[in-house]
Symmetry: D3
């Protein structure tokens, strides 16, 4: 369960409120690279953790920290919206820049939230629960977490570049540092799980059951004449240490698919049912599982 | 640009059609771990690739292959739907298992697609373009790709467990092998980029600008009395080789946030505006950027 | 069933078309506070009404009126888009304000609808059917309706502030008046249902079945040292007249959750299955309901 | 900022795991009536609170508590999934009830989460950030909160009815009690704001600016011959104490709307542009704001 | 504006309530082929109609009729849910078929709506406003309408096949008839617009501006050796009467795309910026429009 | 299966990069009228094709071509973003037009994609798989395709009008030409299926089963006094050649719907259950299918 303080984890100061930057910050709140996603992702991974309890405990720690980051960013949005234009009445006519600001800000900051943050991204697209990844496989989840913290840190550095507000730069410099830690933290779990040897993920599926001819083949679909620039993936031992890379030209092994004619009760067009080829009545028997 | 063959990349055979398994296969088509996502993800990463052309070229190869995987799975869905029940008229009364099948299958396979695959997941939730990650940072994108192929391979092994249809098991064994390769492939790029040393991602942001006190600190929000089980992330050199892990108790450094009173034109409740604390008129001046 | 007139319920006049305001008006059409939502919400509540027929009849009345409000707003959007810029060819270069307008308007008004309203909000996010609340509990639904008309009226007053077009102000003043009525209307039903005594909603669940120790306790999760400002919710009789408010410090009563080890067929990472603690095989027996 | 314990707020016990009930519980996690919604809703209202600080402080308390409720429910989902069927291989043939269970459970609990909760509703529809309401008007927000706790308590009582698992019934009885408190809590704020006199919300908009003829009129769109059953909303003083209810037959006051002909650059069909009525060239002048 | 009757447009009778069929009917309410979509689509096309008023008037008529169809279907859903199982307590154990029904019905009909229709499809996916098509081009919109009524009629016939309830079959037979009319109605407008000669849509764009070499060429991307089965689209006059069909092998005319190196402030990985090829500084000048 | 070339199908040249136009182009990539939709729509129709193989083969051809169109547009977006402003630091202050550009561009092009295309529309709303229509009825699908190519060509001509960049105009002129062909192509299939005689779609449902009184009646819901402007749909033979149009005033044939009282276990408000009319206990018997 959870507790709270009224203070913020780190200081949030806005020297020059900028409603266009408020909109940009929304990406770090409700966007796919944002803090609601990592908060819920670590929480759901913790709540569904099966296996060693230390990972559950650790995921709870960082999920809880991320909630504080949403709070910081939501505060930053509200502070950037102080004094934002709310009307086209006079300002638009008087000062052309106000028009640019009203155009560039999220109109729902004026209309829907009363100058406060929302659970949406920089385009007002709502946060979506499908982004919360918890697969039940710890290694897969750690990659999901490294990925979230990598795209998240890229986002934070771009926000840092976009503003010259000293307060905002400081807050972002803190969040960038936390993303540095969190990348390392999830990588540390991968190391505990064997590092590159943890692959292929999941490692609990017997590779003997794969169609092993294709387990380490780079399939090339390229039909042109240019030289292929060699890469690490084209030759040499595979990264997981369990195979040897090679290149193979794509070629069809599966033949042409053939579906039965439509079931008359599905009301395809009559011409579809009388077309070339007879209806395979046998196909309409109920599947053998029944 | 692109070309096609009429044949499939690998054979798709269904010995005993099962409409409930058809629904499960939809997860591998239109789900967040599915093939539409990786197809478009690799394509968009290729089309937006800035930097060495070899990565663009390679992403195009695998994006094109994934399109063939969607095709295989869509064919598998259609074949599993051959002969599926379409009516509750007689079957429901006659055979209770038909009821279970109709309950367990996607009703839109009957109603909307005429016994064919759709661009949705196993619950009929449509594919969502937000899942297509291409950040412009190659290392971040490679982690997004490893993650996609890891959760994708976990999904494929679970589908393999869920069926005893020999044809379906064979098709899935092929897809599982391809996921093995693709995990290795994206890891190979990460190796080319420096492996763990590529971190923190992005590596083009000067770490001196971070709030470095927090770059390698595990922040603990735990208020209880139990022992914390040590992990690799609590001490020792950080994985990126650029710091030393340590543990720090969470503590508020940011003070209590204070927002200005509501702008009267935003029509908060009157009581909010007359509450404790006066309205800071200064806050309503337009931001200095105007 | 339904009928129509070609005339509008109230006059819609735009003196000075403003495509940026057209975008703002979309919030009142396809936004969560908008008219499509209340129209469908009252309709679905009516169509599913179980109990006294008078509520069904009344809901149909106001649902039908709301359809006329969508029509008024859609007309207002179209009129605000008359003469809007459609091209960056010359205007952008000639007149910087056109750039601000094109930036501030919804580009889909140019590209997708041909200068007409769409079923989306002010950010182009489509109307979403999940917003249509009809719970089958009349009191809960009335609160959903008061809430919709309250956020709706807040929105309308903000739109009124945002424009100085006399025609638009007049139309909005009409819609604001209707929201006044509708708030009162739904409150009138709550009064008929007992007012505050209708709580806790649903009142048909026997409170003796609740864990009554917690029915009127304000649980405080605050760990800091500051004084808690007293509120009406901290002491005195509860609003529903059925209990006495008190404050209680949050404390864990539930122990640490323990999940069984992963089912091997779910392909967690091997290390998860061999971790601390053995797999509880018993947990893998099928649930007793089977 | 936030802290956590490893223990749950209240005990979560599942005597007989039931994967179909696990799916139902998802509605209370990721559904519109669920706990993620109220958690984020109270948090965002707190973070954007303008006006008396006591409301901000109180919202933080309950938002933090709701996070613990998500945790309880997520744990309940995982426990109900222990031992759930993962394969159609043998079970489906052996035991018809397994078929019904696999049909009735969320297939993504098998395929995507490895038998754990997800941020989705009972149909697998992802949580959507648009449900997080924070308008900046305290009274409107309190109604949003009463509504959320009312539909939430209705949901919890239905879950209570749906199960006969003693552990689950106990957990739900606790959550039902908390919903009782939270309804009362938000009503207490409304009382502090003036109760019914707080209406019409927002009360900071001068009613003299409304089209007051329509502020307390019940508009009837009914064209039939039956008697209208009288209701509290048809006559007598309005609930807000500021007007007198009356009934008025719907009648069009707005005339027929007339839009200008399409701008040729918007490429309507030629016949639309040459139709009855000439193109009003004047309408294509740029709006006066430019 | 709009009016209503309390009676239904056509009788809705359910002889044997079936909650699984209730779920199926949801597709015709809130699905992409459903009645909310056509209702709003015709309404929005009417409200944005530019050009001859007769089309606006006609669209209003049928949009209003569709609202009555939503009402009929919503009533049918509620009637099919009468007496549906709400609990797994005893029924599941007693009667296996109840398990199949609870598995096959929408759990939100129990949990969220109290046995009434919702604005969702057969999988509980909410209605989405993006489906409401109104392009401002009358011919394009008429095709959108024919398409909606065609997929809608296919859906209705499949629902008709799925049930043997005489009341439901009668209601669907009415809706199928209306879809027949509506298909004809939109085709009648296309005839007025010139029928096939209305193409290519929009006909107001001068075809001389197209890259006319490709206006009537069937581009074949097929790389295999099989014979191509001839179709009407391969040779002969084009359907719009303005060209001659021919077949052309796909071939790249566009060269390899080359993007500039990443802007350093976008924080790509350092290796991307130092890769093969220098950064084209010129590309970082601001676009000439500024 | 599929292959690729590194070259584009047609040249993509941007003379003057314009980030606002980049945002507009997104509509043609990830919008409902865009190329991802048609690509996947033709592919899914091919993969689920039942009936004559020639249609499957042809759909594959054009689906594959559309993938090349996404590629062209994604390249165009990236090129239009070269040199776009990424910071408000200095530019906003120095040059007001930069403010307008930053306001008018998609902030996620800066923040999320690093100046590259995304799978979203012009408002950043993600591509949605629900737009991919494949009904299993060939004629319905062809109308879906004509509609997609009609709204798509309208969009492309509007983009053509919006820019004066010669390179962009040339690329769009190519895409417009392809839309011309594709409209003709799908119309050619409709001709093969019988043209207007293919209606009503589906033609495999016996019209004798419709409620034929309403198959060719234009139902008028208009209650006003004005003259109705005659249209082709009001009289004369129906377009499908199977009936005669006539006009009929809307009138209710279905009586007032009556739902049973709420099931007590669904926890409606007590007052709903004790209202006018007794609870019809009979309605609570389980449906006869059980």
């Amino acid at each position: 369960m959870f507790y709270h303080d009224r203070e913020l984890q780190y200081k949030v100061r806005v020297d020059n409120p900028n409603p266009v930057f408020a909109r940009m910050l929304q990406q770090a709140i409700g966007g796919i690279e944002g803090e609601i996603r990592v908060c819920l992702q670590y929480m759901f991974q913790a709540w569904g953790a099966r296996g060693p309890a230390k990972y559950r405990n650790m995921l709870l720690e960082t999920g809880t920290e991320e909630m504080a980051h949403i709070e910081m960013l939501a505060t930053a949005v509200a502070l950037n919206l102080e004094g934002a234009p709310v009307s086209m009445q006079d300002e638009f006519a008087k000062d052309k820049m106000v028009g640019a600001i009203m155009g560039g800000m999220d109109p729902r900051h004026i209309l829907s939230s009363g100058m406060a943050a929302m659970a949406v991204d920089a385009n007002g697209v709502p946060f979506n629960g499908s982004w919360v990844v918890g697969s039940g496989n710890l290694a897969a989840d750690m990659y999901a977490n490294v990925m979230a913290e990598s795209t998240g840190r890229v986002l934070a550095t771009r926000l840092w570049e976009a503003t010259d507000d000293a307060g905002m730069k400081d807050m972002l410099a803190f969040l960038i540092a936390r993303d540095t830690m969190h990348q390392n933290q999830w990588l540390a779990v991968i190391e505990e799980l064997g590092g590159l040897n943890a692959h292929p993920i999941p490692n609990s599926f017997p590779q003997s059951q794969e169609v092993q001819d294709f387990s380490y083949a780079f399939v090339s679909t390229y039909v042109g004449n240019q030289e292929t620039i060699a890469g690490r993936w084209a030759a040499g031992p595979s990264l997981d240490g369990k195979g040897e890379f090679r290149v193979e030209k794509a070629a069809p092994l599966g033949g042409e698919p053939k579906l039965a004619a439509p079931d008359p009760r599905g009301h395809a067009q009559t011409e579809q049912m009388n077309g070339e080829g007879m209806i395979d009545q046998a196909a309409h028997k109920l599947a053998s599982i029944s």
